[in-house]
Symmetry: C2
Subunit: 453 residues, 2 copies
């Protein structure tokens, strides 16, 4: 009987395992784990604090460890591998897809890598050399080599008999690749075509020879965009001479899409996108401190700017009370623009042709925002402090800062991208620096000029 | 000849079309568009400012308009449909998949919807009623009904002849579904199985009857998590009685994954995740103003808190200079925790079992962070202002605020989730309010108590 999934199916399971684990029922946990598919074991490990993770891993059936490692998020996997015996790592990688195999090997510290390599047999050592030869984050590193190739001049009947002889197709196969004698890629034949067309036709007659192949050096985000746009399930990868090297399947692309989308969000908070939610305290603190350090410098810089106006602040302490409002609004408006542009760059919507239009648009929004919120804050402050001059000063500062926020929000990511710096990582800090400095300067500067007795 | 994709293939094309468009060569543009697949036309439209978008749309071959609409992002699609004649909308939706069909119908204003429905033939009107009956953002709304079903007691040979007779399979078909006389789902047979197993076997002998079916009411994010974890290409959808309704394919799931991942990032900046990068200025300004308004209230609240200490600020203006540092650090530390927890909730890693552990961890990080940055800022301020008492005061405030940031960063999203409020949308503002108020209160309060002469 097929089972209908309950909404919280895996949650219940997770809860049970956790309970059994905490009451020390290890045998029970081991039995439960033996009945879970590797993807669910991986999910369970990812959802566990690092201490229970170590215990859980010991209870995973060694035959499932390889597949489970494949399914794990990078950060969690590295943590587990670091505690494993090199010989066990070598054994676990044996059944892995090429792309996961390469990823695991790349994540190993040099000394461990040598030990793991030493525990492998000759074939695996050779495979390691091949998979590591492709540059990271390219189509070559994403692909696996388990493709089925056929020649253009045979009939479908021959192909059908050949497949029946094989008895099994590699997982996720939706098409066979047609190559010539030199292994040059000519086109592909969908499984659906094999099933629906007359067996007496030749491969050449039914193959799709307009089909696009991915060059091995293409970046993984471009690969992901192509898959997404064309609704591909798999795609062939070729080298510079047009020879077929392997294929990329949608499941690996889904990981890239998820990672890319999360990357922007995580980077904007100064986090690594593979950051493990359940990492130990000290490790997490260390990782996050870089970002806090950078921000401290920004904050001190802003304080330094405010320091120019110390005497003004002493005479008019109300300025100190209101001083946070303008920078805060600038930060929000700027980060809206920044986020939109970063997303636009990530999904490939922004290019040289529309860049100028976009800059114009965001600056216009900055000015419009500036006018709206200047009028509002002027009214609030004038009524609150019963001082229309103060209202005018803060209105002017607000307009200037929202205008600056629009300009900075759109140009910073575009410039960073030109310089090949990740806009999601560096953009926020630079933006905040601009909006803080402009905001403080505009407010306290104008106030010093117009309000001092 | 298959063509190897260049890195910037679509970028070049885009650039050419834009150039031709701006020089008014409409005939040329129309010809170029006629040779582009709908997915590339959609990408081009999404990457164009809204004015050129309208012109471009007029130049798209009406036969391709339906498919192009299917590929477009929601916001862009709605903009285009709003300018189309209802009869043309009805014609364009005819060839759409069920899920896109429902999405387009849902996006129409009531009056236009009635007109579009009026232009449809009877069959399409009935289809509209069916697809709209599934709740939005559920498996039912994601699925399409073009499945191929077979009976368990026939031989593969019969199935093969049946498929050959059909001549074509629905796009993205990787498995056939096995149902009984009452259309109850029994299991599935992969196309690969059909190709590799002996034709004399029956469907029952080769089918996977452990295969999981998705209930139609399951939320789309759960569906996406299942696909991602199990590396599915398609999955059957059943109703409460176990009857097969349709299937969900990976391409629609990829859209959900992309949307979900982007949703968090966009929401955190107060943006709609379907926000169109190239929307007109006024529309964008209006959309973003809600968030700026909420933030203004927060900023004024913070100013109000600072207002309690106006006389202190007048006596010690250096406090005004330094007042931004502690809230700023609290905001960053808190948003790191917040982002991590929001991501953890989104990917399903956080549950009742590990929640307490996570809270403990983030509070511990908050305290550790507090100690580190308290010592650092104390040193900087003491040396800068040559005033160790001031250093101690700001150190105390820093510790308190980073501790508060850790507590707030982890509890706010968990509580919001319990209350069924989107943590990505509301979390940031609540967090900033906490870190601003605590930061200002701790710093100016302690200073008033200890430093005033």
């Amino acid at each position: 009987m097929p089972e209908a999934l309950e909404q919280d199916y895996s949650q219940t399971q997770l809860h049970e395992v956790t309970k059994a684990l905490s009451s020390g029922m290890f045998v029970h946990v081991r039995r439960m784990l033996a009945h879970m598919p590797p993807c669910d074991i991986a999910h369970l490990l990812e959802s566990s604090p690092h201490k229970s993770r170590t215990v859980l891993w010991q209870l995973v059936d060694p035959d499932l460890q390889g597949e489970t490692l494949e399914e794990l998020a990078e950060d969690v996997r590295n943590g587990i591998i670091a505690q494993m015996d090199p010989a066990l790592v070598a054994a676990a990688t044996e059944e892995m897809d090429d792309d996961d195999f390469a990823e695991v090997l790349r994540s190993l510290p040099d000394t461990v890598y040598q030990e793991v390599l030493g525990s492998m047999d000759k074939t695996d050592q050779e495979r390691a050399t091949v998979v590591l030869s492709y540059e990271e984050e390219t189509a070559g590193a994403l692909m696996s080599t388990d493709t089925i190739t056929i020649r253009p001049d045979v009939t479908l009947d021959v192909v059908l008999r050949y497949l029946r002889l094989k008895g099994e197709l590699p997982e996720g196969t939706d098409e066979l690749y047609v190559v010539d004698k030199e292994n040059k890629f000519l086109g592909d034949v969908q499984l659906a075509t094999l099933l629906t067309k007359s067996p007496s036709l030749t491969v050449r007659e039914v193959m799709d020879n307009e089909s696009e192949a991915i060059p091995m050096s293409m970046g993984e985000s471009e690969v992901a965009q192509l898959f997404e746009r064309h609704n591909w399930i798999s795609a062939p990868v070729i080298d510079d001479n047009g020879q077929l090297l392997g294929r990329i399947t949608i499941d690996d692309v889904v990981d890239v899409i998820r990672e890319e989308a999360e990357h922007s969000m995580m980077s904007m908070a100064g986090l690594d996108d593979e950051e493990d939610t359940f990492a130990p305290v000290v490790k997490s603190t260390k990782r996050r401190s870089v970002w806090l350090g950078v921000n401290l410098v920004t904050a001190i810089l802003a304080a330094f700017v405010a320091g120019f106006f110390e005497s003004t602040l002493g005479i008019l302490p109300i300025l100190a009370v209101l001083n946070g409002i303008v920078p805060s609004m600038g930060g929000i408006a700027g980060s809206q623009t920044l986020t939109l542009v970063i997303r636009g760059i990530a999904v490939g919507h922004i290019n040289d042709a529309n860049q100028r239009w976009l800059i114009g648009k965001e600056i216009a929004i900055g000015m419009l925002n500036g006018m709206i919120w200047a009028v509002l804050i002027a009214t609030v402050v004038a009524l609150w402090q019963w001082d229309y001059k103060l209202g005018l000063v803060i209105a002017f500062a607000m307009f200037m800062n929202l205008f600056a926020a629009g300009c900075a929000g759109v140009t910073i990511p575009l410039v960073l991208k030109k310089l090949d710096i990740d806009p999601a990582l560096a953009g926020g800090v630079i933006l905040t620096t601009v909006t803080d400095v402009v905001g403080i300067f505009a407010f306290l500067g104008t106030a010093t000029y117009f309000l001092l007795p």
